[in-house]
Protein backbone atom coordinates (compact mmCIF):
# COMPACT_ATOMS: atom_id res chain seq x y z
CA UNK A 1 0.00 0.00 0.00
CA UNK A 2 1.50 3.33 -0.99
CA UNK A 3 1.61 6.37 1.26
CA UNK A 4 -1.36 8.16 -0.35
CA UNK A 5 -3.65 5.14 -0.02
CA UNK A 6 -2.56 4.70 3.59
CA UNK A 7 -3.47 8.32 4.38
CA UNK A 8 -6.85 7.90 2.67
CA UNK A 9 -7.57 4.67 4.54
CA UNK A 10 -6.58 6.22 7.88
CA UNK A 11 -8.78 9.26 7.21
CA UNK A 12 -11.73 7.08 6.22
CA UNK A 13 -11.37 4.88 9.31
CA UNK A 14 -11.00 7.90 11.58
CA UNK A 15 -14.02 9.62 10.00
CA UNK A 16 -16.11 6.46 10.24
CA UNK A 17 -15.08 6.03 13.87
CA UNK A 18 -15.99 9.61 14.75
CA UNK A 19 -19.38 9.18 13.00
CA UNK A 20 -20.11 5.99 14.92
CA UNK A 21 -19.15 7.53 18.27
CA UNK A 22 -21.20 10.64 17.52
CA UNK A 23 -24.23 8.55 16.50
CA UNK A 24 -23.88 6.44 19.66
CA UNK A 25 -23.70 9.54 21.87
CA UNK A 26 -26.74 11.10 20.18
CA UNK A 27 -28.72 7.85 20.52
CA UNK A 28 -27.90 7.49 24.20
CA UNK A 29 -28.84 11.14 24.81
CA UNK A 30 -32.03 11.40 22.79
CA UNK A 31 -33.11 7.95 21.62
CA UNK A 32 -32.59 8.90 17.97
CA UNK A 33 -29.58 9.08 15.69
CA UNK A 34 -28.21 12.31 14.25
CA UNK A 35 -29.21 13.17 10.68
CA UNK A 36 -32.66 11.64 10.96
CA UNK A 37 -35.56 13.63 9.58
CA UNK A 38 -39.13 13.61 10.84
CA UNK A 39 -42.18 14.73 8.87
CA UNK A 40 -45.64 15.94 9.76
CA UNK A 41 -48.52 14.40 7.85
CA UNK A 42 -50.91 16.92 6.27
CA UNK A 43 -54.23 15.58 5.01
CA UNK A 44 -56.17 17.76 2.57
CA UNK A 45 -59.85 16.91 2.14
CA UNK A 46 -60.74 17.33 -1.54
CA UNK A 47 -64.45 16.52 -1.50
CA UNK A 48 -66.70 13.45 -1.26
CA UNK A 49 -65.80 11.95 -4.68
CA UNK A 50 -62.03 12.07 -4.45
CA UNK A 51 -59.73 10.50 -1.85
CA UNK A 52 -57.95 12.93 0.50
CA UNK A 53 -54.50 14.08 -0.58
CA UNK A 54 -51.75 13.34 1.94
CA UNK A 55 -48.57 15.40 1.90
CA UNK A 56 -45.65 15.56 4.34
CA UNK A 57 -43.78 18.58 5.68
CA UNK A 58 -40.53 18.50 7.55
CA UNK A 59 -40.79 19.03 11.27
CA UNK A 60 -38.31 19.27 14.14
CA UNK A 61 -37.00 16.03 15.61
CA UNK A 62 -38.08 16.91 19.14
CA UNK A 63 -41.73 16.59 18.02
CA UNK A 64 -41.26 12.98 16.87
CA UNK A 65 -43.68 11.55 19.44
CA UNK A 66 -46.52 13.92 18.48
CA UNK A 67 -49.52 12.53 16.51
CA UNK A 68 -49.08 12.64 12.73
CA UNK A 69 -45.30 12.91 12.99
CA UNK A 70 -43.26 10.05 11.56
CA UNK A 71 -39.71 9.14 10.60
CA UNK A 72 -38.89 9.89 6.93
CA UNK A 73 -36.50 7.35 5.48
CA UNK A 74 -36.15 9.12 2.11
CA UNK A 75 -35.32 12.49 3.68
CA UNK A 76 -32.93 10.91 6.17
CA UNK A 77 -31.10 9.20 3.30
CA UNK A 78 -31.19 12.61 1.61
CA UNK A 79 -29.44 14.36 4.52
CA UNK A 80 -26.76 11.66 4.63
CA UNK A 81 -26.36 11.77 0.82
CA UNK A 82 -26.07 15.56 0.90
CA UNK A 83 -23.46 15.36 3.68
CA UNK A 84 -21.41 12.74 1.84
CA UNK A 85 -21.64 14.77 -1.40
CA UNK A 86 -20.44 17.86 0.49
CA UNK A 87 -17.50 15.94 1.95
CA UNK A 88 -16.73 14.42 -1.46
CA UNK A 89 -16.49 17.88 -3.04
CA UNK A 90 -14.41 19.19 -0.14
CA UNK A 91 -12.01 16.28 -0.64
CA UNK A 92 -10.75 18.08 -3.75
CA UNK A 93 -8.93 20.50 -1.44
CA UNK A 94 -6.50 17.72 -0.73
CA UNK A 95 -6.17 16.81 -4.42
CA UNK A 96 -8.03 15.28 -7.33
CA UNK A 97 -9.46 11.92 -6.24
CA UNK A 98 -12.11 9.37 -7.29
CA UNK A 99 -14.59 10.59 -4.66
CA UNK A 100 -14.52 14.14 -6.04
CA UNK A 101 -14.75 12.89 -9.63
CA UNK A 102 -17.78 10.81 -8.71
CA UNK A 103 -19.50 13.78 -7.07
CA UNK A 104 -18.60 15.95 -10.06
CA UNK A 105 -20.07 13.42 -12.51
CA UNK A 106 -23.29 13.19 -10.52
CA UNK A 107 -23.46 17.00 -10.39
CA UNK A 108 -23.05 17.37 -14.17
CA UNK A 109 -25.73 14.77 -14.90
CA UNK A 110 -28.24 16.02 -12.34
CA UNK A 111 -27.82 19.71 -13.19
CA UNK A 112 -28.17 19.15 -16.96
CA UNK A 113 -31.35 17.12 -16.45
CA UNK A 114 -32.61 19.61 -13.86
CA UNK A 115 -32.32 22.52 -16.32
CA UNK A 116 -34.02 20.43 -19.00
CA UNK A 117 -36.92 19.41 -16.75
CA UNK A 118 -37.50 22.96 -15.49
CA UNK A 119 -37.43 24.28 -19.07
CA UNK A 120 -39.84 21.55 -20.17
CA UNK A 121 -42.49 22.19 -17.51
CA UNK A 122 -42.23 25.97 -17.29
CA UNK A 123 -41.76 26.88 -20.95
CA UNK A 124 -42.54 24.03 -23.31
CA UNK A 125 -45.67 22.80 -21.48
CA UNK A 126 -46.83 26.07 -19.90
CA UNK A 127 -46.16 28.50 -22.73
CA UNK A 128 -45.76 26.50 -25.94
CA UNK A 129 -48.29 23.67 -25.53
CA UNK A 130 -50.53 25.84 -23.36
CA UNK A 131 -50.88 28.28 -26.26
CA UNK A 132 -50.98 25.77 -29.11
CA UNK A 133 -53.14 23.04 -27.53
CA UNK A 134 -55.14 24.78 -24.79
CA UNK A 135 -58.01 22.25 -24.72
CA UNK A 136 -55.76 19.24 -24.36
CA UNK A 137 -53.63 20.98 -21.75
CA UNK A 138 -56.71 22.04 -19.78
CA UNK A 139 -57.86 18.40 -19.66
CA UNK A 140 -54.47 17.00 -18.64
CA UNK A 141 -51.53 19.01 -17.36
CA UNK A 142 -52.86 22.55 -16.91
CA UNK A 143 -56.42 22.42 -15.55
CA UNK A 144 -56.06 26.01 -14.33
CA UNK A 145 -55.79 27.35 -17.89
CA UNK A 146 -58.45 29.99 -18.66
CA UNK A 147 -61.56 28.41 -20.19
CA UNK A 148 -61.75 31.23 -22.79
CA UNK A 149 -58.24 30.59 -24.06
CA UNK A 150 -58.08 29.45 -27.68
CA UNK A 151 -55.19 28.36 -29.87
CA UNK A 152 -52.68 31.14 -30.54
CA UNK A 153 -51.28 30.20 -33.91
CA UNK A 154 -48.28 32.52 -33.76
CA UNK A 155 -46.74 30.03 -31.30
CA UNK A 156 -46.20 27.72 -34.24
CA UNK A 157 -43.10 29.86 -34.97
CA UNK A 158 -41.16 28.93 -31.78
CA UNK A 159 -42.26 25.31 -32.31
CA UNK A 160 -40.75 25.28 -35.81
CA UNK A 161 -37.64 27.15 -34.62
CA UNK A 162 -37.31 24.68 -31.73
CA UNK A 163 -37.46 21.69 -34.06
CA UNK A 164 -34.90 23.40 -36.30
CA UNK A 165 -32.65 23.86 -33.29
CA UNK A 166 -32.86 20.17 -32.42
CA UNK A 167 -31.84 19.43 -36.01
CA UNK A 168 -28.29 20.05 -34.84
CA UNK A 169 -28.28 16.53 -33.43
CA UNK A 170 -28.90 15.10 -36.92
CA UNK A 171 -25.85 13.79 -38.81
CA UNK A 172 -26.31 16.31 -41.64
CA UNK A 173 -27.98 19.67 -42.19
CA UNK A 174 -26.63 21.21 -38.99
CA UNK A 175 -26.81 24.66 -40.66
CA UNK A 176 -30.60 24.56 -40.17
CA UNK A 177 -30.00 25.23 -36.47
CA UNK A 178 -28.58 28.63 -37.45
CA UNK A 179 -32.07 30.03 -38.01
CA UNK A 180 -33.26 29.69 -34.42
CA UNK A 181 -29.79 30.69 -33.28
CA UNK A 182 -30.10 33.86 -35.38
CA UNK A 183 -33.45 34.58 -33.73
CA UNK A 184 -31.82 34.06 -30.36
CA UNK A 185 -28.89 36.35 -31.14
CA UNK A 186 -31.12 39.01 -32.71
CA UNK A 187 -33.53 39.01 -29.78
CA UNK A 188 -30.69 39.19 -27.26
CA UNK A 189 -29.03 42.04 -29.16
CA UNK A 190 -32.33 43.95 -29.45
CA UNK A 191 -33.23 43.55 -25.79
CA UNK A 192 -29.73 44.25 -24.49
CA UNK A 193 -29.22 47.32 -26.69
CA UNK A 194 -32.18 49.07 -25.14
CA UNK A 195 -31.98 47.74 -21.59
CA UNK A 196 -28.27 48.45 -21.21
CA UNK A 197 -28.55 51.92 -22.68
CA UNK A 198 -31.48 52.70 -20.41
CA UNK A 199 -30.41 51.21 -17.09
CA UNK A 200 -26.64 51.09 -17.34
CA UNK A 201 -25.91 54.22 -19.35
CA UNK A 202 -28.63 56.86 -19.02
CA UNK A 203 -29.66 55.84 -15.51
CA UNK A 204 -26.07 55.70 -14.23
CA UNK A 205 -25.35 59.17 -15.60
CA UNK A 206 -28.61 60.41 -14.13
CA UNK A 207 -27.65 58.99 -10.72
CA UNK A 208 -24.28 60.70 -10.91
CA UNK A 209 -25.79 64.17 -11.33
CA UNK A 210 -25.67 64.98 -7.63
CA UNK A 211 -25.63 68.30 -5.69
CA UNK A 212 -22.01 69.09 -4.87
CA UNK A 213 -23.01 71.18 -1.86
CA UNK A 214 -25.65 69.53 0.31
CA UNK A 215 -27.60 71.74 2.70
CA UNK A 216 -29.29 70.56 5.86
CA UNK A 217 -32.83 71.56 6.88
CA UNK A 218 -31.54 74.57 8.83
CA UNK A 219 -29.53 75.86 5.86
CA UNK A 220 -26.04 74.85 6.98
CA UNK A 221 -23.69 72.82 4.80
CA UNK A 222 -23.69 69.09 5.42
CA UNK A 223 -19.95 68.57 5.08
CA UNK A 224 -19.87 64.77 4.87
CA UNK A 225 -22.70 64.42 2.36
CA UNK A 226 -21.09 67.14 0.23
CA UNK A 227 -17.69 65.41 0.38
CA UNK A 228 -19.37 62.11 -0.48
CA UNK A 229 -21.16 63.56 -3.51
CA UNK A 230 -18.06 65.38 -4.75
CA UNK A 231 -16.05 62.16 -4.43
CA UNK A 232 -18.65 60.18 -6.39
CA UNK A 233 -18.91 62.74 -9.21
CA UNK A 234 -15.14 63.24 -9.40
CA UNK A 235 -14.58 59.47 -9.11
CA UNK A 236 -16.87 58.64 -12.01
CA UNK A 237 -15.27 61.43 -14.08
CA UNK A 238 -11.65 60.36 -13.50
CA UNK A 239 -12.48 56.69 -14.04
CA UNK A 240 -14.12 57.55 -17.36
CA UNK A 241 -11.07 59.64 -18.28
CA UNK A 242 -8.93 56.54 -17.74
CA UNK A 243 -11.19 54.56 -20.12
CA UNK A 244 -11.08 57.31 -22.75
CA UNK A 245 -8.28 56.33 -25.10
CA UNK A 246 -8.95 58.84 -27.88
CA UNK A 247 -6.78 61.38 -26.06
CA UNK A 248 -3.20 60.66 -25.07
CA UNK A 249 -2.85 60.18 -21.31
CA UNK A 250 -0.31 62.96 -20.69
CA UNK A 251 -0.38 66.22 -18.73
CA UNK A 252 -3.68 66.96 -16.95
CA UNK A 253 -5.46 64.08 -18.67
CA UNK A 254 -2.65 61.75 -17.60
CA UNK A 255 -2.88 62.96 -13.99
CA UNK A 256 -6.66 62.50 -13.94
CA UNK A 257 -6.33 59.06 -15.55
CA UNK A 258 -3.82 58.10 -12.86
CA UNK A 259 -6.28 59.08 -10.11
CA UNK A 260 -8.86 57.10 -12.12
CA UNK A 261 -6.62 54.01 -11.93
CA UNK A 262 -6.32 54.42 -8.15
CA UNK A 263 -10.06 54.66 -7.82
CA UNK A 264 -10.52 51.59 -10.01
CA UNK A 265 -8.00 49.75 -7.83
CA UNK A 266 -10.16 50.57 -4.79
CA UNK A 267 -13.14 49.21 -6.73
CA UNK A 268 -11.32 46.00 -7.63
CA UNK A 269 -10.07 45.58 -4.07
CA UNK A 270 -13.58 46.09 -2.69
CA UNK A 271 -15.05 43.68 -5.27
CA UNK A 272 -12.41 41.12 -4.39
CA UNK A 273 -13.08 41.42 -0.65
CA UNK A 274 -16.81 41.28 -1.23
CA UNK A 275 -16.53 38.18 -3.44
CA UNK A 276 -14.30 36.38 -0.94
CA UNK A 277 -16.75 37.16 1.86
CA UNK A 278 -19.62 35.87 -0.28
CA UNK A 279 -17.79 32.59 -0.84
CA UNK A 280 -16.88 32.38 2.85
CA UNK A 281 -20.59 32.82 3.67
CA UNK A 282 -21.38 29.90 1.36
CA UNK A 283 -18.66 27.86 3.02
CA UNK A 284 -20.07 28.70 6.44
CA UNK A 285 -23.50 27.58 5.25
CA UNK A 286 -22.11 24.22 4.16
CA UNK A 287 -20.26 23.75 7.45
CA UNK A 288 -23.42 24.72 9.30
CA UNK A 289 -25.31 22.04 7.36
CA UNK A 290 -22.72 19.42 8.28
CA UNK A 291 -22.52 20.29 11.97
CA UNK A 292 -26.18 21.20 12.46
CA UNK A 293 -28.43 19.11 10.21
CA UNK A 294 -26.18 16.10 9.80
CA UNK A 295 -24.05 15.67 12.93
CA UNK A 296 -26.29 17.55 15.39
CA UNK A 297 -23.22 19.04 17.04
CA UNK A 298 -24.56 22.60 16.98
CA UNK A 299 -28.11 23.94 17.02
CA UNK A 300 -28.06 27.63 16.02
CA UNK A 301 -31.76 27.74 15.08
CA UNK A 302 -32.78 25.71 18.16
CA UNK A 303 -34.53 23.04 16.09
CA UNK A 304 -33.70 20.16 18.39
CA UNK A 305 -34.54 21.59 21.78
CA UNK A 306 -35.40 18.84 24.21
CA UNK A 307 -33.27 16.22 22.43
Amino acid sequence: MNRENLIWLTLMLLGGGVLLVNAGVKYSQSGTVNGTVYVQEIVADTGPDTPPIVTYERTIASLRNEPGVSFSLSRTIGVWAAALCTLAVFSFLWGDNPLYKLAESVFVGVSAAYAMVVGFWTEIVQNLLGNLLPDLMRRTLLPGLQSTKTTEWEYIVPLILGVMMLWRLAPSGGWIARWPLAFFIGATAGIRLISYLESDFVQQINNTILPLVVLTADGTVDVWWSVKNVTIVFGVFVSLVYFFFSVEHTGTVGALARIGIWLLMITFGASFGYTVMGRVALLAARLEFLFDEWLWVIDPLQRRLGL
Binding site: E57, L193, G235, L263
Partner: protein, 244 residues
Protein backbone atom coordinates in the same frame (compact mmCIF):
# COMPACT_ATOMS: atom_id res chain seq x y z
CA UNK B 1 -29.88 30.48 -47.70
CA UNK B 2 -27.38 29.22 -45.13
CA UNK B 3 -26.05 32.65 -44.16
CA UNK B 4 -28.36 35.32 -45.60
CA UNK B 5 -31.60 34.08 -44.01
CA UNK B 6 -30.09 33.93 -40.48
CA UNK B 7 -28.76 37.47 -40.95
CA UNK B 8 -32.23 38.69 -41.94
CA UNK B 9 -33.85 36.83 -39.02
CA UNK B 10 -31.38 38.31 -36.50
CA UNK B 11 -31.75 41.85 -37.87
CA UNK B 12 -35.56 41.70 -38.07
CA UNK B 13 -35.98 40.26 -34.56
CA UNK B 14 -33.54 42.73 -33.03
CA UNK B 15 -34.99 45.81 -34.71
CA UNK B 16 -38.58 44.72 -33.93
CA UNK B 17 -37.64 44.55 -30.26
CA UNK B 18 -35.97 47.97 -30.44
CA UNK B 19 -38.95 49.53 -32.25
CA UNK B 20 -41.37 47.87 -29.81
CA UNK B 21 -39.73 49.83 -27.02
CA UNK B 22 -40.45 53.20 -28.64
CA UNK B 23 -43.91 52.64 -30.20
CA UNK B 24 -46.70 51.74 -27.74
CA UNK B 25 -48.79 49.99 -30.45
CA UNK B 26 -46.01 47.45 -31.00
CA UNK B 27 -45.38 46.68 -27.33
CA UNK B 28 -47.13 43.29 -27.64
CA UNK B 29 -44.69 42.35 -30.43
CA UNK B 30 -41.87 42.68 -27.94
CA UNK B 31 -43.75 40.57 -25.38
CA UNK B 32 -44.47 37.87 -28.00
CA UNK B 33 -40.84 37.86 -29.14
CA UNK B 34 -39.75 37.46 -25.50
CA UNK B 35 -42.16 34.53 -25.02
CA UNK B 36 -40.75 32.87 -28.16
CA UNK B 37 -37.23 33.59 -26.90
CA UNK B 38 -37.94 31.79 -23.60
CA UNK B 39 -39.45 28.78 -25.38
CA UNK B 40 -36.47 28.45 -27.72
CA UNK B 41 -34.15 28.84 -24.69
CA UNK B 42 -35.94 25.87 -23.08
CA UNK B 43 -35.46 23.88 -26.31
CA UNK B 44 -31.77 24.83 -26.17
CA UNK B 45 -31.61 23.10 -22.77
CA UNK B 46 -33.13 20.01 -24.38
CA UNK B 47 -30.49 20.20 -27.11
CA UNK B 48 -27.79 20.59 -24.46
CA UNK B 49 -29.09 17.57 -22.56
CA UNK B 50 -29.14 15.35 -25.64
CA UNK B 51 -25.70 16.58 -26.62
CA UNK B 52 -24.40 15.63 -23.18
CA UNK B 53 -25.95 12.19 -23.58
CA UNK B 54 -24.39 11.78 -27.02
CA UNK B 55 -20.92 12.75 -25.76
CA UNK B 56 -21.09 10.49 -22.71
CA UNK B 57 -22.30 7.53 -24.78
CA UNK B 58 -19.45 8.12 -27.22
CA UNK B 59 -16.97 8.18 -24.35
CA UNK B 60 -18.34 4.93 -22.94
CA UNK B 61 -18.44 3.10 -26.27
CA UNK B 62 -14.86 4.19 -27.10
CA UNK B 63 -13.71 3.10 -23.60
CA UNK B 64 -11.89 6.40 -23.26
CA UNK B 65 -10.06 7.15 -19.97
CA UNK B 66 -12.60 7.99 -17.29
CA UNK B 67 -15.49 6.29 -19.11
CA UNK B 68 -16.76 5.02 -15.76
CA UNK B 69 -17.43 8.60 -14.66
CA UNK B 70 -19.17 9.21 -18.00
CA UNK B 71 -21.45 6.30 -17.12
CA UNK B 72 -22.20 7.89 -13.74
CA UNK B 73 -23.00 11.21 -15.45
CA UNK B 74 -25.23 9.47 -17.97
CA UNK B 75 -27.02 7.48 -15.29
CA UNK B 76 -27.66 10.48 -13.06
CA UNK B 77 -28.84 12.46 -16.09
CA UNK B 78 -31.28 9.77 -17.25
CA UNK B 79 -32.64 9.10 -13.74
CA UNK B 80 -33.16 12.82 -13.01
CA UNK B 81 -34.77 13.35 -16.41
CA UNK B 82 -37.16 10.44 -16.00
CA UNK B 83 -38.10 11.44 -12.44
CA UNK B 84 -38.67 15.05 -13.46
CA UNK B 85 -40.68 14.34 -16.60
CA UNK B 86 -42.73 11.52 -15.09
CA UNK B 87 -43.44 13.62 -11.95
CA UNK B 88 -42.51 10.65 -9.75
CA UNK B 89 -43.99 11.00 -6.26
CA UNK B 90 -46.00 14.12 -7.11
CA UNK B 91 -49.45 14.10 -5.54
CA UNK B 92 -52.38 15.77 -7.38
CA UNK B 93 -52.83 19.42 -6.48
CA UNK B 94 -55.52 20.11 -3.88
CA UNK B 95 -57.17 22.59 -6.28
CA UNK B 96 -57.60 19.99 -9.07
CA UNK B 97 -57.62 16.58 -7.36
CA UNK B 98 -59.26 14.88 -10.38
CA UNK B 99 -56.22 15.72 -12.56
CA UNK B 100 -53.38 13.40 -11.44
CA UNK B 101 -50.80 15.20 -13.63
CA UNK B 102 -51.62 18.71 -12.46
CA UNK B 103 -49.37 18.66 -9.38
CA UNK B 104 -46.22 20.78 -9.47
CA UNK B 105 -43.09 18.95 -10.67
CA UNK B 106 -41.05 20.45 -7.79
CA UNK B 107 -43.55 19.66 -5.05
CA UNK B 108 -42.01 19.16 -1.59
CA UNK B 109 -41.49 15.48 -0.88
CA UNK B 110 -41.55 14.40 -4.55
CA UNK B 111 -38.58 12.57 -6.04
CA UNK B 112 -37.49 15.50 -8.20
CA UNK B 113 -37.57 17.80 -5.15
CA UNK B 114 -35.44 15.23 -3.32
CA UNK B 115 -32.84 15.29 -6.11
CA UNK B 116 -32.77 19.08 -6.03
CA UNK B 117 -32.69 19.40 -2.25
CA UNK B 118 -30.24 16.61 -1.42
CA UNK B 119 -28.00 16.37 -4.50
CA UNK B 120 -28.12 19.44 -6.74
CA UNK B 121 -28.23 22.08 -4.00
CA UNK B 122 -25.45 20.71 -1.72
CA UNK B 123 -23.21 19.88 -4.68
CA UNK B 124 -23.55 23.29 -6.34
CA UNK B 125 -23.27 25.21 -3.05
CA UNK B 126 -20.14 23.28 -2.05
CA UNK B 127 -18.56 23.76 -5.48
CA UNK B 128 -19.04 27.53 -5.13
CA UNK B 129 -17.95 27.47 -1.47
CA UNK B 130 -14.67 25.84 -2.54
CA UNK B 131 -13.88 29.01 -4.46
CA UNK B 132 -13.29 30.71 -1.10
CA UNK B 133 -10.13 28.63 -0.70
CA UNK B 134 -9.00 29.06 -4.28
CA UNK B 135 -9.59 32.82 -4.41
CA UNK B 136 -7.71 33.22 -1.13
CA UNK B 137 -4.79 31.03 -2.20
CA UNK B 138 -4.59 32.64 -5.66
CA UNK B 139 -4.63 36.08 -4.04
CA UNK B 140 -1.92 35.06 -1.59
CA UNK B 141 0.31 33.93 -4.46
CA UNK B 142 -0.48 36.71 -6.94
CA UNK B 143 -0.90 39.84 -4.83
CA UNK B 144 2.36 41.62 -4.31
CA UNK B 145 2.61 45.19 -3.02
CA UNK B 146 4.95 46.18 -5.84
CA UNK B 147 3.53 49.61 -6.68
CA UNK B 148 0.99 52.20 -5.47
CA UNK B 149 -1.90 50.59 -7.35
CA UNK B 150 -1.25 47.16 -5.86
CA UNK B 151 -0.96 48.66 -2.36
CA UNK B 152 -4.30 50.47 -2.76
CA UNK B 153 -5.96 47.26 -3.96
CA UNK B 154 -4.51 45.21 -1.11
CA UNK B 155 -5.42 47.71 1.61
CA UNK B 156 -8.97 48.07 0.28
CA UNK B 157 -9.47 44.29 0.08
CA UNK B 158 -8.08 43.92 3.61
CA UNK B 159 -10.41 46.60 5.03
CA UNK B 160 -13.48 45.16 3.27
CA UNK B 161 -12.63 41.62 4.41
CA UNK B 162 -12.08 42.69 8.01
CA UNK B 163 -14.93 45.18 8.06
CA UNK B 164 -17.48 42.48 7.25
CA UNK B 165 -16.49 40.30 10.19
CA UNK B 166 -16.94 40.60 13.95
CA UNK B 167 -13.17 40.85 14.24
CA UNK B 168 -13.23 44.13 12.34
CA UNK B 169 -15.85 45.62 14.64
CA UNK B 170 -14.01 44.38 17.72
CA UNK B 171 -10.61 45.65 16.53
CA UNK B 172 -11.89 49.22 16.18
CA UNK B 173 -14.26 49.24 19.14
CA UNK B 174 -12.06 51.94 20.74
CA UNK B 175 -13.15 54.47 18.10
CA UNK B 176 -16.59 55.34 19.50
CA UNK B 177 -15.39 56.34 23.00
CA UNK B 178 -12.65 58.42 21.37
CA UNK B 179 -15.13 60.18 19.06
CA UNK B 180 -17.34 61.04 22.04
CA UNK B 181 -14.54 63.20 23.47
CA UNK B 182 -14.81 65.71 20.61
CA UNK B 183 -17.52 68.33 20.64
CA UNK B 184 -17.34 69.21 16.93
CA UNK B 185 -19.77 66.95 15.05
CA UNK B 186 -17.59 67.07 11.91
CA UNK B 187 -14.50 65.81 13.77
CA UNK B 188 -16.57 63.29 15.74
CA UNK B 189 -18.16 61.95 12.53
CA UNK B 190 -14.72 61.69 10.92
CA UNK B 191 -13.36 59.66 13.83
CA UNK B 192 -16.41 57.37 13.89
CA UNK B 193 -15.77 56.80 10.18
CA UNK B 194 -12.46 55.14 11.11
CA UNK B 195 -14.29 52.11 12.46
CA UNK B 196 -13.56 49.21 10.08
CA UNK B 197 -17.23 48.48 9.43
CA UNK B 198 -17.86 52.18 8.69
CA UNK B 199 -14.79 52.33 6.45
CA UNK B 200 -16.10 49.31 4.54
CA UNK B 201 -19.45 51.06 4.18
CA UNK B 202 -17.75 54.21 2.86
CA UNK B 203 -15.61 52.23 0.43
CA UNK B 204 -18.61 50.32 -0.88
CA UNK B 205 -20.99 53.29 -1.07
CA UNK B 206 -18.62 55.97 -2.34
CA UNK B 207 -15.40 54.77 -4.00
CA UNK B 208 -16.67 51.40 -5.19
CA UNK B 209 -19.90 53.03 -6.36
CA UNK B 210 -18.00 55.60 -8.45
CA UNK B 211 -15.67 53.01 -9.97
CA UNK B 212 -18.47 50.54 -10.70
CA UNK B 213 -20.53 53.30 -12.24
CA UNK B 214 -17.75 54.15 -14.69
CA UNK B 215 -17.25 50.46 -15.50
CA UNK B 216 -21.02 49.98 -15.98
CA UNK B 217 -21.20 52.96 -18.35
CA UNK B 218 -18.32 51.46 -20.33
CA UNK B 219 -19.99 48.04 -20.46
CA UNK B 220 -23.30 49.59 -21.60
CA UNK B 221 -21.55 51.35 -24.47
CA UNK B 222 -19.73 48.14 -25.38
CA UNK B 223 -22.94 46.08 -25.34
CA UNK B 224 -24.78 48.69 -27.42
CA UNK B 225 -22.06 48.81 -30.07
CA UNK B 226 -21.70 45.00 -30.20
CA UNK B 227 -25.49 44.61 -30.50
CA UNK B 228 -25.57 47.10 -33.37
CA UNK B 229 -22.72 45.28 -35.10
CA UNK B 230 -24.66 42.01 -34.85
CA UNK B 231 -27.95 43.51 -36.02
CA UNK B 232 -26.36 45.31 -38.97
CA UNK B 233 -24.54 42.15 -40.01
CA UNK B 234 -21.04 43.52 -39.37
CA UNK B 235 -20.33 40.85 -36.76
CA UNK B 236 -21.26 37.43 -38.20
CA UNK B 237 -19.18 35.24 -35.91
CA UNK B 238 -22.29 33.55 -34.49
CA UNK B 239 -22.90 31.94 -37.90
CA UNK B 240 -19.75 29.85 -37.54
CA UNK B 241 -17.21 29.02 -40.20
CA UNK B 242 -19.76 28.12 -42.87
CA UNK B 243 -18.21 24.72 -43.50
CA UNK B 244 -21.36 22.70 -42.76
Amino acid sequence: MKRTVPLIIAATTGFVLIVAYFIPYTETWGETAMAWFNIIAAVAFVLGGFNLMKNQLQKISDRRPGWGYAAVTLLSFVITLFIGLAKVGVTPSTTYPEHPWAGSYDQEGAAFWWLYEYLFLPLSATMFAMLAFYIASAAFRAFRAKNVEAVILLITAFIVLLGRTYAGIWLTSWVDPLAARFESPVVSQFIVGLRLDRMTETIMNVFNLAGMRAITIGIALGVASTSLKVLLGVDRSYLGSGED
